[in-house]
């Protein structure tokens, strides 16, 4: 028995698996944070209101996500630097500063959305948001200050298995697979205003600027060696495929239940009905539990990742292991993110939904700039060395980036012109 074990341990697949598990993380985590409160809400709406007609868009979204995320991971391995660092060093302080200001505010509105998700999910259990949100804020603060984040990360990842509920529910609901398939291959695209806005919303919620900064920094921090890049790529590409797969099943589950029954979503309670085929009367509990986990996971990562990126770009000391007086800007940014992010959710009649539009607009304005800078950086041989973009990759990348840019500009335009049409 021991001999067999030893043999397995020495075998190449086993070693590869070990390396993979050691490296696994940045990509999978980013992908899971991507399916946050805003993500679940958008996918649910897409499925409930438009049935299967938006499913086709997940294919180009997946390709775009894979390309963008792979580029980030490659830059991290090739340069050992975060994205904010690279932008500062190659494009100067002005671009960096305004970009960091934008990133800060955009992410702040994202954090608000996460805390709103916490509030909404726990209100289903009858817990007042005046209790749940401050506690969640405190929890997030303690995670980082006590330095226990790393161990909690694993718990979060495990908790993300919640998404399996959507997969099962999507299957049990007996969707019309033939129609799903047809809509994927030969979609009936309806170019109405609402439909287009929803489509852009799907792109916007799946590919967000914070992801690029977060993924690159966490890969650098992980210190992946150049030879292990293949394993890292597996993690990143895998993550970028898993996120849209989850989105797919959320849409299918909602389409097969809510859309079929003609229910439109107005609150978390209705969105929870999508899980009824699996959980029956427990659907609401399952849904709110999942929403809670997704929200608090993202709420734990976004503030710290923003504080890191901003400090990195501005050249301020950063790090949770530093004392407050050693890295004042870092701790202030972090504190402001949590206090304001959680605080506004508690203000009665605060236009939370309007803030979320604004965060989408902010994401939309920032993303094209980040993407263009990223492609230019990853084409610079002085910076990237052997990891420079290859020619065909460049063509695909520029096409993807142009499409994303056109779509986000569309979205921003819509949001300005018709602020009331958006959910």
């Amino acid at each position: 028995m021991n001999k067999l074990l030893q043999k397995i341990q020495e075998s190449k697949p086993y070693r590869n698996l070990l390396i993979f598990f050691a490296i696994m993380g940045p990509g999978i985590i980013t992908a899971n944070v991507d399916n946050d409160a805003g993500g679940i809400a958008t996918y649910s709406l897409a499925g409930a209101h438009y049935g299967y007609t938006l499913i086709w868009s997940l294919i180009p979204i997946t390709i775009a996500l894979v390309i963008v995320m792979e580029m980030c991971a490659r830059m991290a391995v090739a340069t050992g630097k975060g994205l904010a660092d690279l932008i500062r060093e190659n494009y100067g302080v002005k671009i960096t500063f305004y970009m960091m200001v934008a990133l800060f505010f955009v992410n702040l509105t994202n954090v608000m959305a996460e805390f709103a998700g916490v509030a909404a999910s726990l209100e289903i259990f009858g817990i007042s948001k005046y209790i749940s949100v401050p506690l969640a804020g405190l929890f997030v603060w303690m995670l980082v200050v006590k330095g226990t984040y790393r161990s909690v990360e694993k718990v979060f990842l495990f908790a993300c298995l919640f998404y399996v509920a959507y997969i099962i529910s999507g299957v049990i609901a007996k969707p019309d697979w033939k129609e799903v398939f047809q809509q994927t291959i030969n979609p009936q695209i309806d170019w109405s205003l609402d439909y287009t806005v929803m489509l852009v919303g799907l792109v916007g919620t799946t590919i967000a600027p914070w992801m690029t900064f977060y993924l690159q920094s966490s890969t650098v921090e992980k210190g992946v060696a150049v030879e292990d890049y293949d394993h890292l790529r597996l993690d990143v590409v895998g993550g970028s495929i898993i996120a849209p797969i989850v989105a797919f099943f959320i849409i299918v589950a909602c389409a097969a239940t809510l859309h079929k029954a003609g229910i439109t979503i107005h609150s978390a309670k209705e969105a929870a009905l999508a899980l009824k085929p699996l959980a029956g009367n427990y659907a609401t509990i399952l849904f709110s539990g999942g929403l809670f986990i997704a929200s608090i996971f993202a709420a734990s990562i976004l503030p710290i990742s923003t504080a890191y990126s901003v400090c990195e770009g501005m050249g301020w000391d950063a790090g949770v292991d530093k004392r407050t007086e050693e890295a004042p800007q870092f701790f202030w940014l972090y504190a402001v993110m949590i206090i304001i992010g959680a605080g506004v959710v508690l203000i009665p009649n605060f236009p939370l939904l309007k803030m979320m539009y604004l965060s989408q607009v902010g994401n939309g304005i920032l993303l094209p700039i980040v993407l263009v800078l990223m492609v230019r950086l990853s084409n610079d041989r002085d910076i990237m060395g052997e990891f420079t973009n290859s020619r065909w990759l460049n063509i695909v990348t520029w096409i993807t980036v142009s499409v994303i840019i056109v779509l986000t500009l569309f979205m921003v335009g819509f949001l300005f012109l018709f602020p009331n049409t958006v959910i």
Binding site: E89, G92, V93, K94, F97, A225, E227, M314, G315, D382
Partner: protein
């Protein structure tokens, strides 16, 4: 004319020819690559055009006026622009501004917000780098505005008075090393030599791999050894990965063997085998042997570098040996006496023979009892023995009493700390 000027005040300024016509704008300053405390500007790089840019380099000597107003001695017809970016070895915008530099005085890595230049005799010198908030505000072009606001609210704010300038004497650029190890200059070495190795190792943790490499390669081999030993295990692997096989093997051969073993045990087998082949055969044999022991056993913890003498050695011989090995990274306070088969006869320490007569046989100064551990003893037993006898190191014997190596308290502490840390982490 002000003696000092900020680079941000000059960049983007118009450059005029001798007739006062504008020929372009200042985009960069190319510096001389020489072994100087304060590098001197060699030429100014001027660009024109907005979308399609053209560049030109003008030697500092051909300027009539240097500062916010730039004027060259030539006529516009005598200059020609080139369509591509000029390749320079060392320029302020590419290598200093917005980059990270090592502050060798406070021993940390900082990011440069602005560059403070000194103007003397129509020459420009790199005097200070500005790492402060005010430099950042100045670069953004908001200085007047912010200054006015701060003056209104807090008139005596330190923000207005204190500039966070670091003298170039105390800073070291890092990115230069990426294409051309400019750091090989003596000036750079002198600056870095003031930083203790442990601090250098800490600084290196803040850098990306290229900066790490260029900094590391600027060290003398002796310093390389010390800094390398002080790096965290993961950093070691990352760094040695970037060295050539020959360099890596040299380094492994010359660091304490317990460190070398830890490193070799963690890297892929093909690589460690390749390096071991390049290492001097005796050392390589020792390392291979050590690699066979479990990492937390005495055999895995021990180092094979220790001072030993034969049975007939005198106190004078021991003193001579210690003096000879005074730079030795391992423990030199203990001397072991072995027979012809390298079996341990006794151990003595500097404290026991320093006041003895040079002619006295060393073996008479030995501890009355032979204290040792076996190669397969575990770290906790070793720690107990070290504590019990208050030794700073303890010999390791194999089953035939042949001396294999010694274990020093710091090796045991390192292992125990990591054990304690794992246990502590589990409790969280």
């Amino acid at each position: 004319m002000r003696l000092f000027i900020y680079l941000s005040e000059m960049l983007g300024r118009k450059v005029c020819d001798s007739n006062g016509r504008v020929i372009g704008r200042l985009t960069d300053v190319s510096m001389r690559l020489a072994d100087e405390v304060f590098p001197r500007a060699e030429s100014l790089i001027i660009s024109r055009g907005f979308i399609v840019k053209q560049y030109m380099s003008v030697a500092i000597e051909s300027f009539e006026r240097l500062g916010k107003n730039l004027k060259i001695k030539k006529d516009a017809g005598q200059v020609n622009f080139k369509p591509e970016k000029l390749r320079v070895d060392f320029s302020l915008c590419r290598d200093i501004l917005d980059q990270q530099v090592v502050d060798t005085h406070d021993q940390k890595v900082v990011r440069v917000n602005d560059v403070h230049l000194l103007r003397v005799d129509n020459q420009i010198y790199l005097a200070h780098v500005d790492v402060g908030l005010r430099g950042l505000v100045r670069r953004l072009g908001w200085q007047k505005f912010i200054d006015a606001i701060v003056k209104m609210i807090v008139p005596d704010s330190p923000y207005l008075k204190e500039e966070e300038l670091i003298s170039w004497r105390n800073s070291q650029a890092l990115t230069l090393g990426r294409n051309k190890n400019v750091l090989r200059f003596n000036e750079a070495k002198r600056k870095l030599a003031r930083i203790p190795p442990t601090q250098l190792a800490e600084i290196m943790e803040d850098l990306d791999i290229f900066e790490k490499l260029s900094l590391f390669k600027s060290f003398t081999f002796d310093l390389q050894k010390k800094v390398f030993t002080d790096l965290a295990p993961q950093e070691k692997e990352e760094l040695i990965d970037q060295l050539t096989d020959r360099e890596a093997a040299d380094l492994i051969e010359n660091i304490p063997s317990d460190e070398a073993v830890d490193l070799l045990a963690d890297i892929p087998k093909e690589k460690s085998a390749k390096w071991l082949r390049l290492i001097h055969s005796a050392t390589s044999k020792q390392l291979r042997k050590l690699l066979g022991f479990a990492q937390d056993s005495a055999g895995g913890l021990m180092t094979t570098e220790y001072l030993y003498l034969k049975r007939d050695a005198l106190v004078g011989d021991a003193m001579a040996k210690i003096k000879k090995f005074v730079d030795y990274p391992g423990n030199i306070f203990h001397v072991y006496i072995v027979d012809d088969e390298h079996k341990l006869l006794g151990a003595t320490s500097l404290r026991r023979f320093i006041n003895e007569d040079d002619k006295k046989p060393l073996i008479e100064t030995c501890y009355p009892k032979r204290i040792f551990v076996r190669t397969d003893d575990d770290v906790e037993e070793i720690a107990l023995l070290l504590e019990k006898y208050k030794f700073s190191s303890i010999p390791v014997l194999d089953e035939n009493d042949v001396l294999q190596g010694v274990i020093t308290t710091d090796d045991v502490l390192e292992e125990l700390i990591s054990l304690a840390w794992t246990k502590y982490k589990d409790q969280l």
